[in-house]
Symmetry: none
Subunit: 230 residues, 2 copies
Amino acid sequence: MTFGPLRRSPLVGQAAERLRDQIAAGRWPVGAKLPGEVALGKELGIGRSTVREAIRALAGAGLVESRQGAGVFVIATEPVEDLPARLRRASAAEVYEVRNLIEVRAAMLAAERRTDEDLAALDAGLAARAAALGDDAAYIDADIAFHASIVAAAHNEVLTDLFAVFQVTMRPSLLDLLAVMDEKNLRTASPDPGADAHAAMVAAIRAGDAERAGRVTEAELAVSLGILRE
Amino acid sequence: MTFGPLRRSPLVGQAAERLRDQIAAGRWPVGAKLPGEVALGKELGIGRSTVREAIRALAGAGLVESRQGAGVFVIATEPVEDLPARLRRASAAEVYEVRNLIEVRAAMLAAERRTDEDLAALDAGLAARAAALGDDAAYIDADIAFHASIVAAAHNEVLTDLFAVFQVTMRPSLLDLLAVMDEKNLRTASPDPGADAHAAMVAAIRAGDAERAGRVTEAELAVSLGILRE
DNA sequence: TAGCACAACTTGTCTGACAACCTGACGTCT
DNA sequence: AGACGTCAGGTTGTCAGACAAGTTGTGCTA
């Protein structure tokens, strides 16, 4: 059993997630009224402003609706088909495993279908990834863009979009991953331990060797998954 | 002449809508930083708390992300589309390819993790599949259940749920597939051409041979995909 | 030039206050 | 009894101010 992202998150995020979970758990069915903002603040141990912002976040997601003078009401529970919500609720390791599973097969397809434009994009992605070293947020974004390029080279729009959902949802977890690696001093030896592996992925795709592309991709992703599992 | 109850919407809603429009219009592209909260407040003529709540609403909708000390950044220009809706919009071949991709890797994981209960469920699935021959609808349902059992044996809940979304969405397409096969007289020779292949999948999973499980699963699914591609 | 210290800026959170609004209880009138 | 109006209490909406916590760029130092 894992709780939400272990990320050092703002109180607003924590509060929104707790409320979200309780709505999903059925504490307040659709149409029910939430406790007042002051009551919620006391219950959650946070100020009223923070409660209000958490409620706004849920309202933006379409879960609740606030009516001045009346209260805050649940207008929908989390739809089961909502993949991003499902991913948020799941453990990071499970999400990561599925994400990797998709990318391994995508890399194999990419080796068979890649165009010259795809290869150019992959090269650019490698360079951007190296250039962003030092800035964690930019590094994560460059890494995400690179892996997205791999999947895009498989030329299956459903696959590309599906992968994007995973990437967006996992972005916070990836930042956690970097933080954990820092704590364990795993990055001191080499600032970008995956650089060679990423280059190998591109090389295999360029060579059109699907089997090798799948193998090196699997090996690269297994490293991070291992850290996440610990 | 009076118009309907033209309710004066709260400032938060107005502000969120204006910001959403401007993001959609491209004033701030993805990755760009919004003006500071105080600046936005002055620009919109509202207080900082109200600006913050509007930003929270957009963050809840997945449009922006705020990083303490850095600013508020655009992470998407429009909400992520619902996966079932996305699948319905896509071509059957693309959806089927992604579905198969998932199952191939799931079969490999299943070979490593299957329990005795999983194996019993797979055997039962094979039998149910054979028993449903002759009734197309029942046959499809039994086939779906069998493949779901394969994925379930991988013991990853996210994977199981994700696969289920594909299965549900694809059920109509599968009925079409049977009809196409009838037209081409592909079923006259053998009423259940995939029976041996399905049994081979179970055997490989029972043997714990991940590589073989992946190979036979891929081969089995490739047949249907080929028909669907024409 | 490389590294560090610091100031300026930005978001995060809390408190207090008042306005706008809704709901239900209560009393009055028909 | 039923319809209607009033009102008190609770609830959200909005603002201002203050301080904490985090980021970033600048300029100084070694």
